[in-house]
Subunit: 409 residues, 2 copies
Amino acid sequence: MARIVMKFGGTSVADLDRIRNVAGRVARQVAQGDQVAVVVSAMAGVTNTLVGWCQALSPLHDAREYDAVVATGEQVTSGLLAIALQTLGIEARSWAGWQIPVHTDGAHGAARIHAIEGEKLIQHMQAGQVPIMAGFQGLGPDGRITTLGRGGSDTSAVALAAALHADRCDIYTDVDGVYTTDPRIVPRARRLDRIAYEEMLELASVGAKVLQTRSVELAMKERVRVRVLSSFADEAQAGTAGTLLVDEDEIVEKEIVTGIAYSRDEAKVTVRHVPDRPGVAAAVFGPLSAANVNVDMIVQNVSADGSTDMTFTVGRADLPRTIALLQGAAASIGYSELLTDAEVTKISVVGVGMRSHAGIANTMFKTLADKSINIQVISTSEIKVSVLVAQEYTELAVRALHTAYGLDG
Amino acid sequence: MARIVMKFGGTSVADLDRIRNVAGRVARQVAQGDQVAVVVSAMAGVTNTLVGWCQALSPLHDAREYDAVVATGEQVTSGLLAIALQTLGIEARSWAGWQIPVHTDGAHGAARIHAIEGEKLIQHMQAGQVPIMAGFQGLGPDGRITTLGRGGSDTSAVALAAALHADRCDIYTDVDGVYTTDPRIVPRARRLDRIAYEEMLELASVGAKVLQTRSVELAMKERVRVRVLSSFADEAQAGTAGTLLVDEDEIVEKEIVTGIAYSRDEAKVTVRHVPDRPGVAAAVFGPLSAANVNVDMIVQNVSADGSTDMTFTVGRADLPRTIALLQGAAASIGYSELLTDAEVTKISVVGVGMRSHAGIANTMFKTLADKSINIQVISTSEIKVSVLVAQEYTELAVRALHTAYGLDG
């Protein structure tokens, strides 16, 4: 007997037939003797419709009312799945965020979960009931509905698993796990059986959008074993399917490099000929930070003639704002020229094995050099090496690195 | 300064444009210096879609889950209207039934309101805020969402008006008031400026479906002044438009007959040659009552040969069940024959003035006789005379009676 949280995303509950399929899958889990709780997203498309209505009425709509409107999508799915489960003879009950309650902070539209009161649900589960929690939502300190931001149902599921002391949190999605890289670029990419939380965080934040980043952070903090698997795949190998997110210590045979990630959502900014003196970095990045522009990779060349070039990346969507902010601060920074390039890709090799291995970065540089790919910017962390290259080399670079690190299946 | 509850039905909030129109109407009421609270239905069609999903998953769906699903429609409208009002500079805030809360009994799918906690909303209104309550819903004793049954938002509005000690409850709908009869049959029908609660109850229950019957009962019990008016009509005469439901005492010049109602939703049943002895009525109606078949008009002819004929009406939808029940009880009743006729119409003349006037019924009988319309069944109450006629005479009878009682405009 295990206690399992099963989470189903929007495409898994897109219509009544799929909701019936999900009910069947939950029923079979229950038939195995497990205690099961379910977390559901809104039916695919519903959230977009509701968000669109709020936007159409006012681009600057009140986030509290947006939350009241948008949270209904998950409530509908939870009720419908309860009905579908009851027709299979399973005692099921829907729970909106405010009913449990899922306590969040007051940041409407992007709230964070503080605590979930799990005791009541545990009692229901022990009495044979399957609770179905509407994901993506909670109750703010003002007594009003909050939502967690797009993709927040993943975080709802992990938080519920922590509150219920669940043995596992199974996230059913439209991919069947986490791969060594994007299979659309590298057909020989392999599905990973296990991945460390830290690796998943790096892969997620650099573009492998399988799980909401915050859900992985929460899983790592609360040590929740999360499994990512497909809601459409064959159920025969259900116990072993998908990718399991675990603590680094649980991975016995550590690969040196676990995966290759890439992100095309970057833009490069170079501020030329800034004076090479203390405080200049603050003059460049202060205005960006104040405007909540997230700066990622930063390099500063060695000074030549008392001035230096500073290069960094920002999210591509933030590029126009970044240019405007730097032009506004031109006098205080004192640069000669502002160069930008949105046609770049950030490519990262990720693996907890790097901690104990030298030469990982060098393999990357050599592999790219062999393909005549110029590296524009480099940044490293304990378990990641990232480079910025011209966007046209994306596929070539990812494939070459996948082979170089022995990841081809 | 008055305190007004404004209620808008599904067609009044059918899309974003209409929600904007409603916001404009509310804003103009606020601009008059009134304290305003709003009650909204789901956008037209939404409730039907949600109900359809529940039905498709299970015809015998759990009413608690049905309520969780269906109540979302009103929640969406309340949030959208709050956003629309905020864009007009009005401080507005949506309230789901569980937030206020609107306490109901536990009869999921057809709950009755026990109490609405109005103090918090009154404070918000006094501070200049417009509360927008999601209609049709409340919170049951089990801590779960309840709904009030179709048309329940009317009852929500009247109950809120009572809880807020409002001066008036304005029900905006797709008709501009209550008429002396159906204008589609009698073009010269007049809109009534005022109507007594009791009259409205009789008119509503015999087919003039302007308001949910329960909302009228509640208005009468709580002495809430309800005004029915169109959300599409010109606003110039807003103060005087529509029909005001008031206490009988407030109607100074009482018409003898206020209106002519008709209902085609009846079916006639005749049980022939039942033994004329004590207990036979109980033998006939006992099984129907036990099966929740609502019996309306009942007549029993004088006994001729120790046996009698018993005729009554039921809702047409209940006719097949009624036949089956009476056939099942044939032995205990001991009748010779069962005759049924679904091609009938019940026509009623209604007016509180009848209490003090004789000859009302006779005018009805004479008028119908003059048109050679045969009366099949008669029943009377203090403020109503109803007759059953063949359905083909419906329009002829309604027009003749409208003229005979001096109601033509």
